[in-house]
């Protein structure tokens, strides 16, 4: 198993072999982000901008204007918040071919605490025109995302977790990395039987539960789904490696007739994938509503979206297990929340 940041560094080395325009601009965190792998391989194409993220983004824009493909290396939080105006002005508005390796995304950042927790970046970056936002779940998906992003001539923000969270089972998905496409990791209908469905008394098909997550959380969400299955609740699990763009039709199809949709993310409940999925569900065209088309009950059939993530509070430092449990993102806490909500607790 490999961490996402390690996979990022290794893939840049691999891509740098055939692309002499590939460049890394680091803001003094290369040993942490693993950009050091690139530095060792191509020292002339590694630029140390120092502890000056705004200047680093400006330099990257200047390099991109000459045809270089700069990957920035820092913690995501320092790009998306300290250099937000620079990203907006010099990268997004200009369509510059600059890529952001946003390391240490989410809550788990090696006990650095709330100063380093990157838990608003999805909200910030998905509001940015021309910005692609990728959030892979594991090393293999990271490699595919880095390859795709490097070949794409527009800005890309890539979320990378610090720690190895495991490998994402592909669950029959062998498409590697398809930009914009959600990955259905598990379908409730594939596993459900009438005796385990809590809604077997329902006359309609409404009653299924969908879990949607992104980044490293998706692996834990599968664990939550296992726990729920043990308790008698089969769930559909969807992973979003591509937050923007996102094929909304594919999301709606995957949600189908679900009564409950739980979004689970190492991110604020405001503006993350919880907000994203809520927007998609709320914006579903009436004619496309599944089930009882044109029925007066159609509104009642829209799923309840329950956002699981960081609430409106600042967090703290601590070991990963502690933080996940304390802030409701461990597999157990998520399963518990689902059970309470659907009424089988």
């Amino acid at each position: 198993m490999t961490s996402m940041r390690q996979a990022w560094g290794e893939t840049l080395v691999e891509l740098g072999r055939d692309n002499d325009k590939l460049t890394v601009v680091d803001a003094d965190l290369a040993p942490s982000t693993k950009a050091t792998l690139f530095e060792s391989a191509y020292p002339q194409r590694f630029i140390q901008a120092g502890i000056a993220e705004q200047n680093a983004v400006g330099m990257a824009a200047g390099l991109a204007s000459l045809g270089f493909i700069p990957w920035l290396s820092s913690f995501g939080v320092f790009f998306t918040q300290r250099s937000l105006d620079q990203i907006r002005m010099l990268v997004s508005q200009t369509h510059m071919n600059v890529k952001f390796g946003g390391a240490y995304s989410g809550l788990l950042n090696g006990s650095s605490g709330k100063t380093h927790e990157d838990v608003e970046d999805i909200a910030i970056m998905r509001a940015m025109p021309n910005m692609t936002v990728l959030s892979p779940a594991d090393a293999e998906e990271t490699k595919a995302a880095v390859r795709w992003a490097t070949g794409y001539d527009m800005p890309v923000y890539l979320r990378l977790s610090r720690d190895d969270a495991g490998d994402l089972p592909e669950a029959g998905n062998d498409d590697g990395f398809a930009i914009g496409q959600p990955k259905v990791l598990r379908k409730a209908s594939d596993m459900a039987s009438s005796k385990t469905s809590i809604n077997s008394d329902s006359t309609s098909t409404y009653g299924s539960v969908v879990l949607i997550s992104t980044g490293a959380q998706s692996i834990r969400t599968l664990e939550s789904a296992d726990l729920l299955a043990s308790a008698g609740l089969q769930t559909t699990v969807i992973h979003l490696p591509s937050i923007k763009p996102l094929d909304e039709t594919a999301i709606l199809e995957a949600i189908g007739d679900a009564r409950y949709v739980f979004t689970v993310e190492e991110h604020s409940i405001y503006g993350g994938i919880g907000g994203l999925v809520s927007e998609i569900v709320a914006g579903r065209p009436r004619s496309a509503q599944p089930g009882v088309h044109g029925s007066a009950t159609a509104d009642a059939m829209a799923p309840q979206v329950v956002r699981i993530g960081l609430n409106d509070e600042w967090t703290q430092c601590g070991p990963n297990d502690f933080l996940l449990d304390r802030y409701g993102l461990s597999a157990q806490r998520v399963a518990q929340k689902v059970e309470e909500t659907v009424g089988i607790a």
């Binding site: 002339q44 194409r45 630029i47 901008a49 120092g50 000056a52 705004q54 200047n55 680093a56 983004v57 400006g58 330099m59 990257a60 824009a61 200047g62 390099l63 991109a64 204007s65 000459l66 045809g67 270089f68 105006d85 620079q86 907006r88 002005m89 010099l90 508005q93 200009t94 369509h95």
Partner: protein
């Protein structure tokens, strides 16, 4: 409003290879200042003071210094110019138009909907703009990226960045000032337009306050830049002999391993009596009476009088 008269494409007879004498530069500056005054008056929005303080340097850059070709604005070997103080866009547009990047006629569309000439420079819209700007403090960092990239590509072009003194209150500027010497960018020249005034002005005298004053007036700039590792050049930014001498010194500095900073003392609103030396014309719209005064002071001819009336007609 947005139609272009392509027959006006070559609005000047100057070509890059022909040297332009100082009297011609002065005439171009007067015309550039007039284009700023009249365009802002017609569009009823825009900046005056900064574009006028920097006009002589814009003209010197585009008619004497930069290795550029308006027919090929994206030539990879061209010198780069970054207007970090992006609110001076109309000053740059006026010079780009005179230099032939687009018709002078197109200045009439400045700041209008769907115009190529946005209120702040937009590289995706305007030929000759090397980087978009408008959020202050960012240009020098981009210049560092360009100059560093040029070294890595083995390209000999020079990168110029113009900053305002007010802009230097932004912290990112100092990140860049700290970093450029570390990369030994002797192919980079920054110019600070030291006009001493910003939007929030003050009146000297009994009501003067300790927290108002020249943005960098309390700073020993030559010592600071020497200390940061820059090659320091001081000029009068409203005098062509001084400007061209300063540019020559910057170019002679290539090979030294140090970036150059040109500290250019200027007068805000220079060239027009009622805009000169006051913060009150940081931005503003001249009345027809004021325009007539400016036109006379800038020695603009009958052709330009008709241009005023045309624009006034369009606005009403």
């Amino acid at each position: 409003m947005n139609t272009h008269n392509t027959t006006n494409k070559k609005s000047t007879t100057q070509s890059p290879s022909e040297p332009v004498d100082i009297e011609t530069l002065k005439a171009l500056s007067r015309k550039g200042r007039w284009l700023v005054m009249s365009t802002v008056a017609a569009s009823k929005a825009g900046h005056i003071g900064g574009p006028l303080s920097a006009m002589d340097m814009f003209v010197a850059l585009y008619f004497r210094q930069l290795n550029i070709d308006p027919e090929h604005p994206d030539d990879p070997h061209r010198d780069r110019f970054i207007l970090s103080k992006g609110h001076n866009a109309i000053g740059l547009y006026s010079v780009l138009a005179m230099r032939g990047y687009f018709p002078i006629e197109e200045l009439k569309t400045f700041d209008h909907g769907d115009s190529r000439l946005q209120g702040h420079p937009d590289m995706l819209k305007t030929p000759g703009i090397d980087i978009s700007s408008g959020s202050l403090g960012q240009g020098l960092s981009v210049g560092i990226g360009m100059a560093l990239g040029a070294k890595k590509l083995g390209k000999s072009f020079h990168t110029w960045v113009m900053l305002g003194d007010g802009e230097c209150q932004e912290g990112m500027v100092w990140e860049a000032i700290l970093s450029a010497p570390r990369f030994k960018l002797d192919n980079l020249t920054a110019i600070i337009d030291l006009n001493g005034l910003e939007l929030y002005g003050w009146e000297a005298g009994p009501n003067d306050r300790f927290d108002r004053g020249e943005p960098l007036g309390h700073v020993d700039l030559p010592s600071v830049f020497h200390g940061f590792g820059w090659n320091v050049i001081e000029i009068d930014g409203n005098d062509f002999t001084s400007i061209l001498g300063g540019f020559d010194k910057a170019m002679a500095n290539r090979g030294s391993g140090k970036p150059s900073i040109i500290l250019a003392k200027t007068t805000k609103g220079a060239g027009v009596s009622f805009t000169s030396g006051t913060y009150k014309w940081h931005n503003g719209v001249a009345t027809p009476e004021q325009l007539a005064i400016a036109r006379d002071e800038l020695k603009q001819g009958e052709e330009d009088k008709s241009a005023i009336s045309t624009r006034e007609g369009e606005q009403s």
